[in-house]
């Protein structure tokens, strides 16, 4: 049915990556300005679809995560409201709020110091909290009348240009499980850079679309066709999904991405080498098992290199050995 839908957009605003993207020629890249103008057209289109559609935009800056805009008006700007008869006023407010919030923050970064990793995970969790709050307020006001099931169909869109940060594996997996509980769909658009393992898993586990943008100047058309349809309509119009998903995980001890590892049989935490005590659930493993595993373990790769990508099929992962 024609239900209002909610969209939360998480924008990756890592300055070094955007500079690299603007300078790259093969595949052709796109500047931050062009990207933002296409993104604003997409956000306007989302609001144009239905009057009750809601929107929240989060920016993942280096070292911090900030809410840039929300339909419920939590973010206000100081720019004067212009009275233009040629623009639909909600679009105008949306565009100016986002641009001024981004401009304020970007000014505070200089090019000298090394850039901190972006707050992608912070944005994901803030988006999920916002969605949870809007769903609970909607349910409590409608008081579960006949046929008034979840009146919003929430989804999160992540637009990313940076590579994986392996230290964020655990928080991202936790966010994915919360998203599954809230029935939130996570879509991912990869505009520049190599494939992002964790975001692939996020899209796959929540039933969203993962799109690797090849022609960045046609970004708006990619977004319209893959990310604009609400989940209810995705049964009728197909959106691109992946058929091969990279299911690698990061180990809990060093936060390195591993293909083959050791899993605690109690809490399922992943380690790259056998440990006597599990760091998460404090289970002690018997010495004899540890020795057997250490002898049977393949030669360890030098630390710091991610192993080459294995050809993994969608339904299987490389089976880790289970101790104890």
């Amino acid at each position: 049915m024609d239900k209002p839908s909610h969209l939360s957009v998480v924008i990756d605003l890592s300055l070094t990556q955007w500079t690299l993207c603007a300078q790259s020629t093969n595949p052709p890249g796109i500047t931050l300005q062009d990207f933002l103008s296409q993104l604003l057209a997409f956000l306007n289109a989302h609001i144009a679809c239905k009057d009750e559609n809601t929107l929240a935009v989060f920016g993942a800056f280096p070292g911090q995560s900030v809410m840039l805009y929300s339909s419920t008006g939590e973010v206000t700007t100081t720019t004067a409201e212009s009275t233009d008869a040629n623009t639909y006023r909600p679009f105008r407010t949306l565009d100016s709020t986002i641009m001024s919030s981004i401009a304020e923050r970007l000014d505070s970064y200089d090019g000298m110091t090394e850039e901190a990793p972006i707050g992608l995970v912070g944005c994901l969790t803030k988006a999920l909290c916002y969605i949870n709050r809007t769903i609970t307020t909607a349910l409590s006001s409608s008081q579960g009348g006949e046929g008034a099931a979840a009146s919003v169909d929430p989804r999160i869109l992540v637009l990313s240009v940076s590579p994986d940060q392996s230290s964020t594996y655990i928080p991202i997996m936790n966010s994915i499980f919360s998203a599954q509980k809230l029935k939130v769909t996570i879509d991912v658009g990869k505009i520049f850079g190599a494939e992002n393992v964790f975001l692939q898993q996020a899209a796959h586990l929540t039933g969203g679309a993962y799109v690797q943008v090849e022609r960045a100047d046609a970004l708006l058309q990619y977004m319209m066709m893959s990310f604009l349809p609400a989940p209810a309509i995705r049964q009728l119009i197909s959106v691109p999904t992946q058929d091969r998903v990279d299911f690698r995980a990061a180990c809990f001890c060093h936060k390195r991405i591993v293909e083959v590892g050791f899993v605690c049989s109690v809490c399922l935490s992943i380690f790259c080498q056998p440990v006597p005590v599990c760091s998460t659930c404090r289970t002690k493993f018997p010495m004899k098992t540890l020795q057997r595993l250490r002898d049977a373990r393949p030669l360890a790769a030098p630390p710091g290199n991610a192993p080459p990508r294995p050809p993994v099929q969608k339904n299987g992962t490389t089976t880790p050995a289970r101790p104890g």
């Binding site: 144009a48 639909y88 105008r92 609400a230 309509i233 119009i237």
Partner: protein, 479 residues
């Protein structure tokens, strides 16, 4: 605990199952637009605000198809477009295509698909902002002497105007004399068939009017506006201007003042009518600024257009005031005379308190409503829409016994069907009877026959023929 209940088919329900999953019919305005000429529609699409409002009235699949094609420069081959939909989406896809073709947004073509260029450029302007049509309404500067009206006064004004109209309809013929709405409104009500001029000058509500009263406010508003649009041509008003003004209103913002200077002559003439329906508010009749009320800003959305008596509710559930028990007793926590008058149509009201009205749904009251043309489904959906929040705990919302009983009372009307005619009996012999019967059957006027008693029943039209036949036979027999 609801046990297995017999599902009672409503009178006139077809035997094939109704598809309720996302297959709602188009909005009434869309159906109206589909009957207009391509020229009219292209002129209408020149304004970005009209395109945006019409876009919001389309169904979800149609909207997505338009958005997919909006930013493409070259036409898309039909086969490529068909590849976008999944197997379940094939039939909705073809329905969507034919709907869009009738609206002249996406002309039919077996080979390539491209959007109507006017619509495409206006829609792009609507989304990115731009163009020079000024179609979203010119805001006025802040005037210290006359600040823009606040939202409560706008809501109160809209509510008062709207309820005046409805209350006048409900209480016509009951001997009360409520305040009359303006002449323009009365004319509109008469033309749309909701009220009729029965005895001289007084207007009485018709059965279509009764059904109208039970509809939700959005549908009521659009029914009146569509009638207004249909009358526009006779009143020498350009349909495109009228429609674009209405659609511009639906894109305006509540609580702001707009200037009347850029409006055409037709649109300025509409201001008075819109004031009467409660869509806009002006300080004086000649003021150069107007502000839209909630009725106008929610024209193309599904948010509630009118505040309730307890304040602006989030959804119609906050308006609920009816408690219905399994013993057919009804308690309505309201003191709004319009709501009480509407309840009086199908409920026997027994007592009235300052904040409560008590009544019972009886066979007589429901029969009276059915005689006025209201169907059982409308009564049940009215009760569901206005059910008190406490009733939400029941599953199903209304007691099954009461629902079924209302439908049974409706079916009682269909129990007996009567037809006029003549009964032919007392034939002299079996051969006589069969001879006349065969003749009547050839004329196809036999309604009922009983050969053991040698009588049959013929319709009124065939009577003259049969009588002539019998007379000729008896004359021939005697001669």
């Amino acid at each position: 605990m609801a046990g297995p209940s017999i599902r009672i088919k409503q009178a006139g329900e077809s035997s094939k199952s109704t598809n309720t999953s996302g297959d709602d019919s188009s909005h009434r305005l869309v159906t109206f637009l589909q009957s207009q000429s391509q020229n009219t529609l292209t002129r209408l699409y020149q304004k970005p605000s009209s395109c945006l409002s019409i876009f919001r009235l389309l169904r979800p699949l149609e909207r997505q198809l338009v958005m997919n094609l909006l930013w493409l420069e070259m036409p898309v081959p039909a086969a490529t477009m068909a590849a976008w939909v999944t197997r379940e989406g094939k039939r909705p896809y073809h329905d969507a295509l034919s709907n869009l073709a009738r609206l002249h947004i996406l002309p039919q073509s077996p080979v390539k698909h491209a959007l109507n260029p006017t619509f495409k450029s206006s829609m792009r302007q609507a989304i990115t902002g731009g163009g020079s049509s000024g179609s979203f309404g010119v805001l006025t500067e802040n005037d210290d002497k006359h600040p823009p009206p606040d939202i409560e006064s706008l809501d109160a004004y809209a509510l008062e105007r709207w309820e005046t109209i409805l209350y006048y309809m409900v209480s016509s013929g009951t001997g009360q004399f409520p305040t009359k709405p303006s002449q323009g409104v009365l004319y509109l009500l008469q033309r749309s068939g909701l009220m009729a001029n029965v005895h001289g000058n007084t207007l009485q509500i018709t059965s279509a009017g009764f059904q109208f009263l039970l509809h939700p406010p959005h549908e009521q508003l659009w029914e009146l506006l569509l009638q207004y649009l249909q009358m526009a041509e006779e009143r020498q008003m350009d349909l495109v201007e009228v429609l674009s003004f209405l659609l511009m209103l639906s894109a305006t913002e509540l609580g702001k003042d707009y200037s009347t200077e850029n409006l055409s002559a037709t649109q300025k003439a509409m201001l008075e009518d819109l004031r009467d329906y409660g869509l806009i508010k002006q300080r004086t009749a000649t003021s150069r600024r107007f502000s839209p009320t909630r009725l106008a800003t929610t024209l193309t959305s599904s948010s509630p257009p009118l505040p309730t008596s307890t304040g602006t509710g989030n959804g119609s559930q906050a308006q609920g005031f009816i408690v219905l028990e399994t013993n057919y007793r009804l308690y309505a926590y309201t003191d709004n005379p319009l709501q009480i008058a509407v309840l009086n149509l199908f409920v026997t009201l027994k007592s009235r308190f300052p904040n409560l009205v008590v009544g019972q749904i009886t066979r007589d009251s429901v029969k009276k409503a059915l005689a006025n043309g209201i169907t059982a489904e409308q009564v049940i959906s009215y009760l569901i829409t206005h059910a008190h929040p406490q009733m939400r705990k029941n599953k199903p919302l209304l007691p099954v016994t009461v629902q079924d009983q209302i439908r049974l009372w409706e079916l009682e009307k269909n129990r007996v069907k009567s037809q006029e005619g003549y009964l032919y009996t007392a034939f002299a012999s079996q051969a006589d009877y069969e001879y006349v019967l065969n003749y009547a059957k050839q004329l196809d006027v036999v309604l009922w026959e009983n050969s053991s008693r040698r009588c049959f029943f013929g319709s009124v039209e065939g009577h003259a023929n049969i009588r002539g036949f019998i007379e000729r036979r008896s004359a021939a027999g005697n001669a």
